[in-house]
Symmetry: C3
Subunit: 137 residues, 3 copies
């Protein structure tokens, strides 16, 4: 069994932003030389997400608008008694998910026709990291 670990640095310009990281993950799979296995990709922070969906700019805006409706910014969260102002980002990240696990088959991400991997930032404009862990043979 082989394993391969890589960290991506993320720093979004916007506070809330969805970034396509598929090519970075594909690069890590190639570097790992693993042909059959799995690839775990996760945010290392609790106000951002890694998820799989569609590369379409309108849909990415729909996601951000929808998240604002079901997990709105609001000064009344108890979490804000600590001096924080980002409780909504913790909720938004929960909806979108922390991680994805992707199969690797014949040396490549085993994806359907439209699957793309995204980093979802909900409290950005500062340094964050994404972890890639690949296991297999």
């Amino acid at each position: 069994m082989k394993s391969y670990t890589k960290y991506l640095k993320m720093h979004t310009r916007q506070k809330k932003e969805i970034v396509n990281i598929t090519s970075e993950i594909e690069e890590a799979v190639t570097e790992s030389k693993i042909k059959e296995g799995i690839c775990l990709v996760n945010s290392m922070h609790i106000t951002s997400s890694v998820f799989i969906n569609d590369e379409e700019s309108g849909l990415k805006q729909d996601f951000l608008k929808w998240l604002e409706e079901i997990a709105p910014e609001n000064p009344s969260y108890l979490h804000h008694h600590t001096g924080e102002d980002n409780a909504d980002a913790h909720l938004k990240r929960t909806i979108m998910g922390r991680e994805v696990v992707v199969a690797i088959t014949k040396g490549a991400l085993d994806f359907g026709p439209w699957e793309q991997i995204f980093y979802g930032e909900f409290d950005g404009q500062r340094d964050k990291r994404v972890l890639i862990k690949i296991m297999g043979e």
Copy 2:
């Protein structure tokens, strides 16, 4: 380390439908001959889900009704400017999840008393696929 890959074909009669796929996953685990490891099961499409919950017909209807409330069909999504009409299916799939990772212990899915695996379709009536990737020894 051994690995085993299998693809299930899905084609629901309804546009929105929840299908129990537990026996298909159990069959793949048996075929893999893997006794200790993990089993990844994911939708290969971005408007459908794989998730674990309860085999109870009322609850499955509750899920579909609830998803319609928090991620409704609506003509005003920006995604629909592309000619698509299924933005709600992308959101519903996000709530239900893309994938599950299940432990394999002593050659079987290591499940609690009520765990069952489902395929959740939110834009169906056409061919789709589910990926099963099993790793272990």
Copy 3:
């Protein structure tokens, strides 16, 4: 490849409660003697969750309040025709997630600065279990 399996017993005092289980997972990683690999942690029940977020008491209350808003207790669920009264717990668990997969690097959970693992109970006051499956070398 090595694998290690462990079950945690859970029994919350409250019906709805969020419990930090990070130290129990770290203990299992040490016991496994696995240095590079992955650790799957999942609820074995369909009305409770395992998820990663922040150890902050106000935020934990925010989570429970928010879940009550988007997946409320309500006598009108169809699931309740079976005699059950916990349909909301099935929905809440879906939002929070069934499982996490965490990388193990150099013998430890490969976590960002604030990541902690929680068990989220939404229909408690009875015996439940969490599964830990560790794979690697």
